[in-house]
């Protein structure tokens, strides 16, 4: 993560001085964006950089759903299974993705292309059901649209 330190230093200019630990989640987000996950060495580096115990970094990592300790597929397919999406067809989409990809939620296809996850409300209830591909929302989907979407991903 050391090459990211100049970026982190710039973030500090808009923060009150003396509260470096505030950069914990922003640092971890940025590292994950860079490497794809948080490696053991990153934990040491973040702890050193922020001046916090290593265990504090581990506690944060194990608390927040978006932070991960291991790599995932090239395309992360996250599908909402909460109330409004379920009422507009999310369960059928989930079943379809499980069958089409041959993996269960939480698993990655053997070719490393797709990781399938079910998630809770993404705030797209009015345009349900929603599938988040990496960071992009795809809303108001049916099975044909999901198929077309997946075919367009390498």
């Amino acid at each position: 993560m050391k090459h990211l330190i100049p970026e982190f230093e710039r973030l500090k200019t808009r923060l009150p001085p003396g509260h470096d630990a505030t950069l914990m989640v922003p640092c971890l987000h940025r590292i994950q964006e860079d490497r794809g996950y948080i490696a053991d060495s990153d934990i040491d580096d973040v702890a050193d950089y922020l001046g916090v115990p290593r265990i504090q970094v581990e506690e944060v990592l194990s608390f927040y759903g978006m932070l991960r300790r291991a790599p995932i597929g090239r395309w992360h397919l996250q599908i909402c299974r909460n109330v409004s999406c379920s009422m507009r067809g999310a369960e059928r989409l989930i079943d379809h993705l499980i069958e089409r990809l041959g993996v269960q939620p939480g698993q990655t296809t053997p070719d490393g292309r797709f990781t399938l996850s079910t998630v809770e409300c993404l705030g797209c209830c009015g345009t349900a059901p929603v599938l988040m591909v990496n960071t992009t929302y795809h809303e108001k989907l049916d099975i044909a649209q999901v198929d077309a979407l997946i075919e367009g991903l390498d």
Binding site: L15, P16, T22, M24, L50, V83, S86, C121
Partner: protein, 437 residues
Amino acid sequence: MDGHKVLMNFNVTARSHSLKAYRKRGGYRGLEKALASMQPEEVTQTIVDSGLQGRGGAAFPAGRKWQGIDPHDGQPHYLIANADEGEPGTFKDRWVLEFSPHTLIESMVISCYALAVRHCFVYIRGEYDLPLRRLEEAVEEAYAAGYLGENIQGSGFSCDLFVFRGAGAYVCGEASSLLGSIEGTRAYPRNRPPRMTVKGLYQCPTVVNNVETLSTIAWIINNGAEAFRAIGTPKSPGTRLISISGHIERPGVYEIELGYSWARFLHEDCGGVLHGRALKAVIPGGISSQVLTGKDAKVLTAGEVEGLTLDHEKLKSAGSSLGSGGMIVIAEGTCMVRLLHIMQRFYHHESCGQCTPCREGTGWMHRILDRILAGKGHPEDIERLQFIAEANDGTTICGLGDAAGYAVTAMVANFRDEFEYFIEHGRSKFGGNLECL
């Protein structure tokens, strides 16, 4: 839809979120007015006089919350906009962030001036990608134009804004919990007292307001408290953004004047229940409006909805609340047992694990419903669910465990026959339907 608009008062175009478009429609005049001609106390008094209530769920008077801060006590103060919109059924703050981020920024700077805040934060949920990009772009524009940073508009007042991206934890929508997140720890809700306006972020006086609440401030400063009071009802002034979803013809975000007829909203503005089906129930304000006191019935049956108006006092008297403004419409023929199962799975997944009744109770309720859905329910499971729900009530630090319990209580009270049927026959009375096809 008629009625006054405070937030959705312009045409959305590809660039209507930009600073240029915002200034063209009168943006940042409220801030200029406050900095040039008002004392911090006058700003706070205007918000008190406006009667503005919080739009995040609890409907607490915003001005009264602000009065908990003494701008002259010499301590650092903090303001945080809660944009961790995660309450199922709620997507209204997303509208502000995507289409009018400068309204939030201008309102926050005015608020920081009133509260003597040097550093403020927007805590935005990690999944909101487009809203985050729009907000960050707007923040940079505001810095470049001198609406943020040192010596804003030559007034001598300085204020920095940090956009803090969450990392996927529903509980961070609870105001004290997101403080931990910003401090670089796990986001555990905190006991009150002390109130956050006494000891909040970094143990300093802190105000946490919802995005919609804050975004209303610029309008109030521009137009005055009286103009705001003239909108809505005497006890619920102003407007509210309602995000409506589920079995409804025209889902989306609407701005209603408080006191608006519910039946008219549902049947005319939103086009009625999907495919012309009959209405079974409505979840009025997110599956767990963050009401910490009083039993919140949460689910209203079709008959109860018809005569009601949309304002805080009417819904309170009906045993529910406008909550987070996340309305979910449920058509006749929907299986309420499966719907409750989805809610309990959610609460179980999102319980932070700090308090035993919630950590264990949400899991127990989830597993009992798993069992009922698998056709292996016991007749005593209904009482068991109610018992756990009651044991959760008021025994935890934040409202998550309470909300999980209220969902059970409300569903069982209104649709007990469906639960009995499922347990007796091992299958759903309505074919397990969640969709309205």
